[in-house]
């Protein structure tokens, strides 16, 4: 656990070289230290997958294709980040997939029904998304029940509420289009625009994804809160004993997931104009998969923020690469499963190699 809690890239302390040699404190070689990072296995797997599709699928080599892969990866990856932080903190959130739809529906219905500027809907959706996260976290620390159970409950509640509330207000099961309302174009620029780089249009979510990943890495490795997350996920009781505010950490982590759901929900709303109330089911597992491929442990206390970025990238590459390679579509899911399993095995193998003395 010490590996995970200590900032791995910390420069060797200047006072240490003179100290007598001690097996426990001596610096390991750079390759060893790199190989012990949680995300290194995923990185190698990602390179392998990329090279593979680069070789077998001609259209995959174009820059535009990479932008397309990155887009799918980013929408999944933005949610995988807070989900990974939460997993490092030792909890799951099964409501993450439908919470995205809930935020999008809230913003859309609020703006449309009250005929208000869409930005008000955006703000209300943020409040709702954070409240869902806070509710999950609060219930968890209050009852001490496993997060699997609590968020399974909120998953079902949200899934039902998405449908029922949408139907109640709009009379349909999808929201009305808000594309002709005030503020929509502005919001679309913020949440769902494209930026041209060298003739290739890259979706703005890709940039948000990388910026948020950098922020999450900084949070994990350089702040007190980051240490709290590792400590809470590693061993809750010991963490509490040494003065880590476990309750605050957990609630804050769930609210971070809420914030992520809000962001992705806004992207979906402003790029597709309407939202279907049944969307999002099943995506919660994709977020968890991205985090696990990226080296987060299912048991908590170990992982990184770079890992889920790579995990989502692998998932994006595999699901689009199969299409670029023009393989038989009936086998799509099977190919996807095999590729993901292979990526996970490479990941595991690298980690075994790294930790072997």
């Amino acid at each position: 656990m010490t590996q995970a809690t200590a900032p791995a890239e910390s420069p060797p302390s200047p006072a240490s070289p003179a100290a007598p040699k001690d097996g426990r404190t001596s610096q390991r070689s750079l390759t060893r230290r790199l190989a012990a990072r949680p995300e290194i296995g995923a990185l190698i797997a990602a390179i392998a997958v990329y090279v593979f599709f680069f070789a077998v699928a001609t259209p995959f080599r174009e820059a535009g294709s990479l932008a397309n892969v990155l887009y799918e990866a980013s929408v999944m990856g933005i949610m995988a980040l807070p989900v990974a932080l939460l997993m490092i903190g030792g909890e799951f959130d099964l409501s993450a997939g439908v919470a995205v739809t809930t935020s999008a529906l809230t913003a859309s219905i609020w703006s449309f029904q009250l005929s208000m500027n869409v930005w008000t809907g955006v703000v209300v959706a943020l409040v709702v998304a954070l409240a869902i996260g806070a509710f999950n976290g609060w219930l968890l620390v209050r009852t001490g029940l496993p997060s699997f159970l609590i968020t399974l409950g909120s998953f079902l509640i949200l899934q039902g509420a998405n449908l029922a509330v949408t139907k109640f207000y709009t009379g349909n099961v999808a929201t009305d289009s808000i594309s002709d309302m005030d503020g929509f174009d502005q919001a679309r620029k913020v949440f769902a625009s494209e930026i041209g780089i060298g003739g290739v249009d890259v979706k703005i979510t890709v940039f948000y994804w990388l910026i948020l990943a950098a922020a999450a890495t900084w949070l994990l490795l350089r702040t007190k809160f980051g240490n709290w997350i590792f400590a809470t996920g590693g061993n809750q009781e010991s963490a509490r004993a040494v003065g880590v505010p476990v309750t605050f950490t957990k609630i804050a982590l769930f609210m971070t997931v809420g914030a992520g759901a809000w962001f992705v929900g806004m992207h979906i709303l402003f790029s597709f104009n309407t939202v279907q109330s049944g969307e999002g089911v099943g995506n919660e597992f994709l977020y968890i998969i991205a985090a696990v491929i990226g080296g987060c442990l299912l048991t908590g206390g170990y992982g990184s923020a770079v890992g889920p970025v790579i995990g989502a990238f692998i998932f994006g590459m595999v699901s689009q690469g199969i299409v670029y390679a023009n393989w038989n579509p009936d086998w799509f899911k099977a190919f996807l499963g095999v590729m993901l399993l292979l990526a996970a095995l490479v990941n595991l193998w690298v980690r075994r190699q790294a930790t072997r003395r």
Partner: protein
């Protein structure tokens, strides 16, 4: 419990509440679109029958929250209101659960059952039980090959394969050469039948593409990828209205010249057909399926009538919607009934 952290979320909640209130006071109203702009048009209603109250159960294999099934339900509700029928609607995409729901209706001693036979074999025994209990059963939407054999009174729906064939003919007419058929739920019998029908009559090349229907960004990326993989594709065929609108974005992103055509219709679809983003849509008229099923059970109870003589299905589609006739349909679609 850690007490020091408690005031924080509360303060945060206060700030957000204040911000929301401030926004409302500031009068952030939208001058365009929104509820205010939505036309308030009355529902289809033609008075109410004075026949004795009867109870009809409709049991479908719909997944919750699907725009298409919502139209079936609305049609059924309209007919129920008109015919003085108490409608009990239930649904489950899981065939075993759907069979249980039919059993539930038999136990309630309803006066008629309308059921979809998406997985006919799973429904066989329970349909037989309903008949034995003397409850008339009509089929709708799914099961066009099995309703007769199972002894259903009548059937309202579209032959998906025939609709696919008509779709393929239309593509030929429009001069398409290479089309992809986007399946948003892999392994769904009706969707596969549509693509198979298109493939049969379409003279050009036709390939299928599987996408994850509950994840729109993924749908968008995957269609984009396919268009890049084969740049000669000139028609994208989708099997549900929301996916058609996403396909339009994919075509745009991929810089492709492909056109988009789709099965099924919804409100946004009508605008897209009007503006030319979508070439045409094939409607199987789900509202009509729901309406006719309930109305037929009422007619059978009050006057002993039934359609098709137990031999032929009543086909509700395919009805083509393109630029020429879209204006007539627009006003119904705006109400969410077409």
């Amino acid at each position: 419990m850690d007490r020091t952290s408690r005031p924080r979320p509360r303060r945060f909640a206060l700030v957000t509440a204040a911000a929301a209130a401030a926004l409302m006071v500031a009068g952030c109203s939208s001058d365009s679109g929104g509820k205010k702009a939505e036309e308030d048009s009355g529902n289809a209603s033609a008075g109410k029958a004075d026949t004795p109250r009867m109870k009809v159960a409709m049991i479908t294999h719909a997944a919750p929250g699907d725009t298409f099934w919502d139209l079936i339900r609305k049609g059924a509700e309209t007919a129920a209101a008109k015919d003085n029928v108490e409608l009990v609607y239930s649904n489950s995409p899981d065939s075993a659960k759907q069979a249980n729901l039919v059993q539930n209706a038999i136990d309630q001693k309803v006066d008629g059952i309308a059921v979809t036979l998406a997985k006919p074999d799973a429904m066989k025994s329970v349909v037989a039980k309903a008949k034995k209990a003397g409850i008339p059963v009509v089929g709708l939407n799914g099961g066009i090959d099995d309703w007769k054999e199972q002894g259903l009174l009548q059937y309202f729906g579209q032959d998906e394969f025939v609709a696919g064939e008509a779709f393929g003919e239309k593509l030929n007419e429009l001069g398409a050469k290479n089309s992809i058929c986007v399946i948003h739920e892999q392994g769904h019998v009706a969707l596969e039948a549509r693509c198979a029908g298109v493939k049969k009559t379409f003279k050009g090349k036709s390939t299928t593409l599987n996408v994850n229907g509950t994840n729109m960004p993924s749908v968008k990326s995957t269609i984009n990828a396919k268009l890049k993989q084969d740049s000669s594709i000139d028609y994208v065929v989708t099997l549900g209205a929301p996916f058609a609108l996403t396909a339009v974005q994919s075509v745009d992103d991929a810089g492709s010249k492909a056109k988009v055509a789709t099965f099924d219709l919804n409100k946004e679809m009508v605008d897209a057909v009007e503006s030319g983003d979508i070439e045409f849509a094939v409607d199987q008229q789900p509202y009509l399926q729901g309406y006719l099923s309930v109305d037929a059970l009422w007619l059978y109870k009050t006057n002993g009538n039934f359609s098709g003589g137990g031999q032929e299905p009543v086909l509700t589609g395919p009805a083509f919607v393109d630029k020429e006739n879209v204006a007539d349909i627009a006003k119904f679609a705006a109400k969410g009934t077409r």
